[in-house]
Symmetry: C2
Subunit: 243 residues, 2 copies
């Protein structure tokens, strides 16, 4: 099924190390984004490391496009999203990826949207920033703001993947226990706790308030309640056969 | 200033490669999380790669604690959060990190909260999963669900960092232009467009609706409006001196 994620393009500008390209490919695959362009690559090592770190995303690496300039990489794009770790005069309108991913995905329904990542050591130049229609900065701690290139690719793609709604969050298969089952549970536990000699009838209200509190701490399922009911039943049976 | 993030502990179980430990240290530093424990490490290579990939987070690497078991690594924790890429019988109550980070940070105000990451090849065992009070799964595309260990550490820590509110998102320094300034802009542009011969008075309403549409596309600031006003003023001046 075609979706807006298919129109997201990762553009790496002036990248130095093939390992970062390979790790970016894997990160892209994890997040359902498959279009890679290297603009003015400046690679300092061989592709063996890049291929090793791409692991099962070597198809993205093999299908990459290489062009001479950022301009060429984004000529057909309806939005060009630069990533920057710095502030400054031309970088004041920067936003967090989470705050603009949904809007940019809507644009990606009309045409390609480029996510542009700069050099490992120097990021994007002011000339390259000037070509961007949007700027984003990944939230990082002030104590260490320099984020690895492939890690930046991952977080950015992750925000687009989550915003796309393609991912369905996991949820409990079993239903939450209904109130009647919970009350039944309390009743059986009260009986059990008297039978095993944990409490006297006169203490019943006091102790059962405590157990009610314990069993109200979080959501529990029909299966959870059935399990706890089983304990009560067995303890009652055992107590009646050993006394 | 102490904050809940200081009580977040990253626990790597049975890790095979020092590079992943080093990259995890950098990712943790990026996200303001500094406590690392290696439980039952099974390292297959030397620390030179780990130290190289930690870059400026070698202090986290140097201050790591190494223990023999997961049990030992989390004995003092008020919550033990396992990460898993798989579903299955004991993994049904898994949640996305974004859906539980805030709740777990509140728990971290009371004591240490462990984020537990399994082996590169096999993740966490069922015995280890059984020690976890919470389970999370990072949203990933079904086409490639295996995420690199350090990448998983990054995304998870990122969600906790963002939920902590420690990061202040960037925002425009200049204020949005007030309506009166926008109306002044339209008036000056109308005058300018007539002066330079772009439109006749009779077409004024038609064309100005078009420009009003263009200038209403997004938020623009006082500085943006001042810039466009300057263009109109200069064009009017030039037109009056060349005709």
């Amino acid at each position: 099924m075609a979706c807006a994620l298919d129109n997201i393009r990762v553009v790496l500008v002036g990248t130095l190390y093939t390992g970062n390209v390979g790790s970016s490919c894997r990160a892209m695959a994890n997040m359902g984004i498959r279009n890679l362009v290297l603009a003015a690559p400046n690679l300092q090592n061989g592709w063996d490391e890049g291929e090793r770190l791409a692991v099962h995303a070597t198809d993205i690496l093999a299908n990459r496009r290489e062009v001479a300039t950022l301009e060429e990489a984004v000529a057909d794009c309806v939005a060009v999203v630069g990533t920057t770790a710095r502030g400054g005069l031309y970088r004041q309108h920067v936003r967090a990826p989470r705050d603009c991913a949904a809007e940019l995905l809507r644009m990606a329904e009309d045409g390609p949207v480029a996510l542009v990542f700069g050099r490992e050591d120097k990021g994007l130049t002011n000339e390259e920033i000037a070509q961007c229609t949007h700027l984003i900065r990944i939230p990082v701690d002030e104590g260490y703001t320099s984020i690895n290139l492939a890690q930046a690719v991952l977080v950015t793609c992750y925000e687009f993947f989550v915003a796309s709604g393609k991912y369905q969050p996991p949820h409990e298969k079993a239903c939450a226990a209904p109130q009647a089952q919970k009350m039944q549970l309390m009743k059986n536990w009260a009986e059990m706790l008297e039978k095993i000699g944990f409490m006297q009838s006169v203490q019943r209200e006091h102790f059962m308030q405590g157990f009610h509190r314990v069993f109200s701490r979080g959501v529990y399922t029909k299966d959870d309640a059935a399990l706890l009911l089983g304990v009560a039943r067995q303890a009652i049976w055992t107590a009646s056969h050993t006394s």
